[in-house]
Amino acid sequence: MTNSMNGKLKGVIVALLSVILGLVMGAVIMLVSGHDPIAGYSAMIQGSFGDLSYFGETLRQSTPLILTALAFAVASTAGFFNIGIEGQSLLGWLGAVWCALAFPDLPKFILLPACLIVGALFGAFWAGIAGMLKAFFNTSEVIITIMLNYIALYLSNFVIRDIITDGKDATPIIPDAASLRSPGLEQLTDYSRLHYGIIIAVLMCVIVWILMQKTTTGYELRAVGMNPFASQYAGMSTKRNIILAMVISGALAGLGGTMEGLGTFKNIFTQNSLPGLGFNGMAVSLLGGGNPFGIIAAGVLFGALKTGGLLMPTEAGVPEELVDIVIALIIFFVGASYLITYLLDKLPAKKNALKEGGE
């Protein structure tokens, strides 16, 4: 039947329209504030795909977003609204750096995987708290994860200042044995900061896709998300699946943060506010329709907006704040994709109504 094919196609159309609408609105704002939108967007394209170095930066920027978007997608497939990806990714970042600094003398083939695993575990643990509370006490995951985000933020600041360092705002740089940096990839992209993380992110997309579509575990997670009553009837444990979904989601989020710690920054520093990995990841997931491969595409787009945006102030004189507004507008239209879906549905419905009326 037409359902699934049409559904997928429609998803892609809605996503593209969201992006276009966001860009158009951004152009309007630039025009109104007296800037040249064509120059602005040229600078953005130049700054994201213009040469190999920029492209490498775009991919680097998108790496953690792909992972946090995957995290959000897994949770929402199981019917769980994980707003806590912010906190989970921050703790993953912290865990990975902490692990690297704690065992500086281990060889790379042990230390790097260990740091990745610790990062994932920190995120999984943090998400697991919300999962347990939901499964056993039916508490709202939304409130719990929002609050856990703040606890994670201050917990991480505390650990950086008072445990890892002696009152400093940033940890030392991690040993090379824990680094995801790849001289090969850097050279290939004309000395961008592109690191092995992108390979991990793409690999995780494939693994998550296989998990969700090809395994009994994924079948159960999808079933519980779509209809918890029928899942219970069929003998699946809703509690187990809720916790499992959260743990997987948290692990992916933690891995997202780990990318910043082991790849981009090679340390962790105190933050005044949540770093935004999770919230941007949610937007990427929505834009990608929750599909792992859609998420890769949406993640690269977001990476491009972020890195390309950096060139807009210098090349086109568009202030940084406006760049953020343009990005926010695109996210807004992604979130408002319901509106676009509604309009798309309305068009053929109207035609049909006219036809029926005529008969």
Binding site: K214, Y219, M226, A230, Y233, A234, M236
Partner: protein
């Protein structure tokens, strides 16, 4: 105007849902100051008709007049303005608000945007005294009894100035004493000039309070009768109809060992009342036990308890001699249970998933459908195609979402899935609800086939025809208990109807043999 004798006239009301005709040219005329009963079996179209009157549904055709004036009721607010109020079966109350707050909700008396609670309380007190609706306006709704909550619902409609009150199955959730009180409230309401429409299928209640009764059957208007001059049996006959029974051919049952044994089972519903109250029953291999009863007498809770979906508070359930009390559903399934659930959309299917994935819902974790945790879609689709073929499920293919199938074909897919495992006990709850005659016949045949293969079948249905047709023994359930077990060959719809309404077997026999009238049975009851 002579028509103004009637406060409500619904003339030639037809309501279609797609191809399904829920109301087919129905007439309902309610006189001022009367209690008018609307009688019909489950799914006869009573609620649809009332939803049309209350503005929740738009009729496909037909005309509604209020006090002789033709009206167009587009939404509940319009209905309220015309003086029509509805007391819903499931109360529309805010648990955490007080009685007063609930009553004024949506039409708060206010001064400059501030709620004038004093005035509201005064008015509520006036109304409640006038109609003897005893309530304490200051308590929180969560803390009062169900009967009291219903009075709040009634007050709510009166506060909004309703002259015509619709009661939707008002006694379904009440205790016997609360029912008595409700009856006297209804009588005092009409004494004060209100008119009442009461939707019900409880014959004794109609006899007690109603003046006239309109019977509908399968969406069609049958007759409007004077209650005083019609017997309960007469009403039952009108409700069920005298159609020739559509019987499925079957040989005599050969019951063997006990497969399901339920003893002194207690299951509580959400409000904490005993929905199943010390119930015992047995189902043997090679027989179909039918459970007859009016909706809401604990049948759903009984089945949910057996299948592991509801908690057992007391008593024992044994399947093939093994205790299955409060076991997880999968353990019970593996112990030999197949379950065709009452609500096929909520429990039976995961509608957005493909038909194949739905057919695999009970066996996806076993070989060959999966191996070491990896699904084998080739096998799953193949398995689905076989079941589709075997049970004649009409579908484009096995990959469409389950939601794309018609109700009958969805049900066939569920039955295919459940019968495939050849369970020792097959529970079929309302297996033919909403299905066309062809599908019903097919499903009945399959149930009897299971029986003939030496399996036990437990059939729960609100359709007496279905129960009489398919069962080898009939257990009548009333208020959470089995009140009688009868042989379908030695009973009929009238007797079952009396038993389902709470009469004892002796009383029902007396009526059957003409030694007593149905009225006497109900007076004896008190």
């Amino acid at each position: 105007m002579a028509e103004a004798d009637y406060v409500i006239e619904m003339l030639g009301i037809t309501k279609k849902f797609g191809d399904f005709v829920a109301n087919d040219n129905i007439n309902l005329q309610v006189k001022k100051g009367e209690i008018h009963a609307l009688l019909g079996e489950n799914g006869a179209g009573k609620s649809t008709l009332m939803n049309v009157l209350f503005g929740l549904l738009e009729p496909t055709s037909g005309e509604i007049r209020v006090n002789g004036q033709k009206v167009n009721i587009t939404d509940p607010n319009t209905a309220n303005k015309l003086g029509i109020g509805m007391v819903h079966q499931h109360f529309m109350l805010v648990d955490k608000f007080t009685v007063t707050e609930n009553i004024i909700l949506g039409s708060e008396p206010n001064k400059f945007g501030f709620i004038n609670k004093k005035e509201a309380t005064k008015e509520i007190k006036n109304i409640s005294e006038k109609y003897q609706l005893k309530v304490d306006p200051s308590v929180v709704v969560r803390d009062i009894t169900v009967g009291m909550q219903q009075r709040v619902e009634i007050l709510k409609t009166l506060y909004r100035g309703a002259d015509i009150l619709i009661f939707d199955e008002p006694t379904a959730v009440l205790t016997p004493q609360e029912i008595e009180e409700l009856m006297s409230i209804m009588k005092s309401l009409v004494k004060e000039g209100k008119s009442i429409i009461v939707i019900t299928h409880k014959l004794d209640e109609i006899k007690e309070v109603a003046d006239r009764c309109t019977v509908i059957r399968r969406g069609k208007y049958i007759e409007t009768v004077d209650v005083a001059t019609t017997t309960q049996q007469g009403l039952a006959n009108l409700m069920v109809g005298r159609n020739v029974l559509f019987t499925t051919e079957k040989k005599a049952a050969e019951p063997k060992e006990i497969v399901l044994a339920v003893e002194d089972l207690v299951v509580k519903e959400s409000r904490g009342l005993n929905a199943v109250n010390q119930l015992s029953l047995e189902v043997r291999a090679g027989e179909v036990l039918g459970i007859a009863g009016i909706d809401g007498n604990g049948q759903s809770e009984l089945i949910q308890a057996i299948t592991g979906l509801a908690k057992v508070s007391a008593g024992t359930i044994k399947l093939n001699g093994q205790m299955i009390n409060n076991l997880p559903p999968r353990k019970i399934t593996q112990a030999g249970l197949g379950h065709i659930p009452e609500d096929r959309h909520k429990f039976g299917l995961i509608l957005p998933m493909s038909l194949a994935e739905n057919i695999a819902l009970q066996t996806y974790y076993q070989k060959p459908l999966s191996n070491h945790g990896f699904l084998n879609y080739k096998e799953i689709n193949q398995f689905a195609r076989e079941r589709i073929e075997e049970f004649d499920v009409r579908t484009a293919n096995e990959l469409v979402p389950a939601s794309a199938l018609s109700g009958g074909n969805q049900q066939k897919a569920i039955i295919a899935r459940e019968i495939y495992r050849n369970p020792d006990l097959l529970i079929a709850a309302q297996p033919t609800r909403g299905l066309d005659v062809g599908a019903i016949e097919f499903i009945h045949k399959r149930l009897i086939e299971q029986r003939d293969n030496g399996k036990a079948v437990l059939l729960m249905s609100f359709e007496l025809e279905e129960i009489l047709n398919v069962s080898d023994r009939i257990a009548v359930m009333y208020e959470g208990k089995i009140v009688a077990v009868v042989d379908p060959k030695e009973t009929n719809e009238q007797e079952l109807g009396l038993l389902m309404a709470g009469a004892s077997l002796a009383q029902a026999h007396a009526v059957e043999e003409g030694k007593a009238t149905a009225e006497e049975v109900t007076t004896l009851d008190k």
